[in-house]
């Protein structure tokens, strides 16, 4: 069995976009450390996409990342999952199409966590937000696997 690729240009264009988002999400700390750079382009890319609360964000080289821990999980695992699409397509059982269900479950888990934390039913942590964000980010590309890679017997 071999993997047959299609829409290659689109796959690599989206990969470039996702990697750009992931690198930007790591914040200005990947280039230098120390000084606060509130006007850095990384912060500006995400200032309308993420609340960028310092208390809910990881740091890189001592500098706050451009996104919160949940968004870091989303963009990080979006990049990992997109890169690993050929591998996923190879092992995927073509008779089951549960990726949309996984995506909906990931969205519902994140919404439940947001609501539970907002109403102080529980208190989420950096790690729990990162894991839940990762589930969401990871499940997004899987739904598109067959559009880019198919098994050829």
């Amino acid at each position: 069995m071999v993997i047959k690729a299609q829409n290659r240009m689109l796959y690599f264009a989206v990969l470039a976009g996702i990697l750009f988002l992931f690198l930007a999400a790591l914040g200005p700390g990947i280039f230098s450390s120390g000084e606060i750079r509130v006007n850095s382009w990384q912060y500006r890319v995400f200032d309308v996409l993420c609340h960028q609360d310092p208390e809910r964000s990881f740091t890189f080289s001592g500098v706050q990342m451009a996104v919160c821990s949940r968004c870091l999980g989303i963009y990080g695992f979006l990049a990992i999952s997109w890169t690993g699409l050929p591998l996923y397509a190879y092992f995927k059982n073509s008779s089951n199409n549960r990726e949309l269900v996984w995506l909906i479950i990931a969205i519902l888990l994140n919404l439940t966590d947001l609501i539970g934390n907002y109403f102080e039913i529980w208190t989420n942590t950096h790690t729990s937000r990162l894991i839940l964000g990762s589930l969401f980010g990871f499940s997004i590309p899987l739904i598109l696997a067959n559009e880019f890679f198919n098994l050829k017997k």
């Binding site: 829409n7 989206v14 976009g17 509130v38 500006r44 979006l78 997004i140």
Partner: protein, 181 residues
């Protein structure tokens, strides 16, 4: 596979979705700005009103799904996933232009809004726990909101995020609503 016959124009769907994105993002941004003005500057680098603004933009990132739903279901057609990505990219681009236009229009409706935001930001920097030198540097970097280059840079950085996310949501929208499977 794409339908053999010539497909109808997608511009109607793109403009509707872009307008929706522009209105939602700018509305949440403007309301978030007023929420920020309602609070005392406390020296925090980021504030709670940004959560509200980010919510608007996250909704805007679903423009790619909306445009594909509107186009595919409106004309009852199917098409390749690349077209879905293109529709998402166009919504990200035109939605950004609408957002900038609506925000600038609001500056005409309420000219004191941007001035108040700038003043609030200055007071916030003053309240920050940092050296006087760093405060001076931050003050110097505060940008003129009416400068054309700053508006263009703001639009470009917004498009970088919103554009890529709308391409991905466009792919999902095409897969869900326009796929022949």
């Amino acid at each position: 596979m794409e339908n053999e016959q010539v497909q109808p124009s997608y511009w109607n769907s793109v403009i509707i979705a872009s307008l929706m994105v522009g209105i939602v993002v700018s509305l949440f941004s403007i309301i978030g700005g007023y929420m920020m003005l309602g609070n005392e500057p406390d020296g925090a680098m980021f504030n709670s009103s940004q959560l509200f603004q980010a919510l608007g933009c996250l909704i805007g990132a679903f423009g790619g799904i909306f445009v594909n739903w509107h186009y595919a279901k409106g004309y009852d057609i199917t098409y390749k996933i690349g077209k879905g990505a293109l529709l998402g990219l166009l919504v990200g681009l035109i939605g950004t232009i609408f957002t900038v236009a609506i925000t600038q229009l609001w500056n005409v409706i309420d000219p004191s809004y941007q001035e108040a935001l700038m003043e609030w930001s200055r007071q916030n920097v003053e309240a920050m726990q940092m050296t006087a030198e760093m405060k001076e540097q931050m003050m110097a970097r505060m940008e003129d909101p009416y400068s054309l280059s700053n508006i263009a840079i703001g639009a470009l950085t917004m498009f970088a995020g919103l554009g890529i996310l709308n391409v991905i949501s466009g792919l999902i929208g095409a897969k869900v609503f326009a796929s022949e499977e």
